[in-house]
Assembly symmetry: C2
Homo-oligomer: 250 residues x 2
């Protein structure tokens, strides 16, 4: 059984604590968070501490705090030569202090407080300075997910940028579709099957092969009618830029 | 049994012909297409004709051709006072000739030749000039899908613009994510669960509630690091515009 301390109690930390609880490969001994008002979900029965000096010794320290604070929090862990990992998609492994064995345990998913996720399907991107530590992280990763990948800090940066495109930006386009529907008394749910099929398609076709619509067809009549229809300046600008990009890329 | 003639043999027409074949509410008597080289899928055993004058009498004529040709094709149907519908998301019902009873039968989905679709989940947007014709279209719609909606031409225009945002533009963002992965030797499939979860989330949360990521967090460090990472000018421009829009909308 690998013992661990989790530092942080945000979205990612909370989801990890939930999936680690009752896991037979990892036992979380403590959760540390600076904020004394933090509450853990009832499903997580782990001692919560607010003084970093009170951290116990463990095989693994998982730092899941805001990117800018990772290095500072790590420095306060009152041990050395321990395996210390962070869970960030953007921060290089190298920001962790030199007196630790460094690693990364990055679950690639969009976590919202009010939406449960099935961890089994979440890719876990792992990195470690040495092979033994990588294997330890892999044991934990495989105990919660069917998909573990060795991803370097450089690749992780690229992956995170891609994730912003296919998740955050995509969700923002859903928001624009939602707004246009609301303004015209159309239930947004009419678009759910289309959204689902668009996401499904790229599992068997490349996005290039899967593309349809007026931009792909160079259908300037429809494109102009859409631009005339749109009244919001930002929506118009996004429509123009993405249409041009589709035309240029196809 | 409602008898019908389908005019056109493109993506939408072909998928409709497949789902109409062996349907107990509609019998397609003929398919008309101008192009003598057109082939129908083997699963569709319907006479194919290339001379519009040879069209037989039927209860319903379904025009599923490119938007610009709808009106011209309709005018050549050698009958009058028939129910004539088109399947377009963008064209107003009114472009159909006055001597017909007009209607629209618009399946809202992204059709690709090499990807089968489950018609049962596809919303069918219906419009007709009179109630009896609407009911007839509804019988056909409900025989192939669980979701039929009465959508006016004006609403359909809005719906089609929304569909471009949540499907074509979304798919293009998948393409950018794919390109960034390829350039960095990362298998794109790592992003499939994230893409799936992003599409799932908005079925229970609004897109605004579902938003995550650096733009939502106003995390300028990460945003700047991403912009520095991106080398493609178009990707950079899209990143900037969508990030600004998320910041302005949240």
């Amino acid at each position: 059984m690998i013992t661990a301390v989790v530092l942080g109690a945000g979205n990612v930390a909370t989801h990890l604590l939930e999936v680690f609880f009752n896991n037979e490969h990892i036992k979380v001994l403590q959760v540390y968070t600076r904020n004394p008002d933090t509450l853990l979900p009832e499903s997580v029965q782990v001692p919560l501490i607010h003084q970093i000096e009170a951290i116990v010794e463990a095989d693994l320290y998982i730092i899941s705090v805001t990117d800018n604070a990772i290095s500072a929090v790590a420095k306060q862990i009152p041990y050395s030569n321990k395996l210390v990992v962070h869970t960030s998609g953007t921060v290089a492994m190298e920001v962790l202090p030199e007196h630790f064995r460094k690693g990364v345990f990055y679950p690639l998913q969009t976590f919202s407080k009010n939406k449960a996720v099935d961890f089994k399907t979440i890719p876990i991107c792992l990195e470690a300075e040495n092979e033994n530590d990588f294997k330890l992280l892999e044991i934990i990763g495989k105990s919660i997910s069917t998909k573990c990948y060795a991803i370097s800090s450089e690749q992780r940066k690229a992956l995170h940028v891609s994730a912003v495109f296919v998740c955050n930006f995509v969700n923002h386009l859903y928001q624009m579709g939602n707004e246009i529907c609301l303004e015209n008394n159309i239930p947004f749910e009419i678009l759910h099957p289309l959204i689902q099929e668009t996401a499904d398609k790229i599992k068997t076709l490349s996005p290039l092969e899967a593309q349809t619509g007026p931009a792909k067809r160079h259908d300037t009549n429809t494109i102009n009618a859409h631009l005339q229809f749109l009244t919001d300046a930002t929506q118009k600008e996004i429509y123009k830029l993405l249409t041009k990009s589709i035309i240029d890329h196809v």
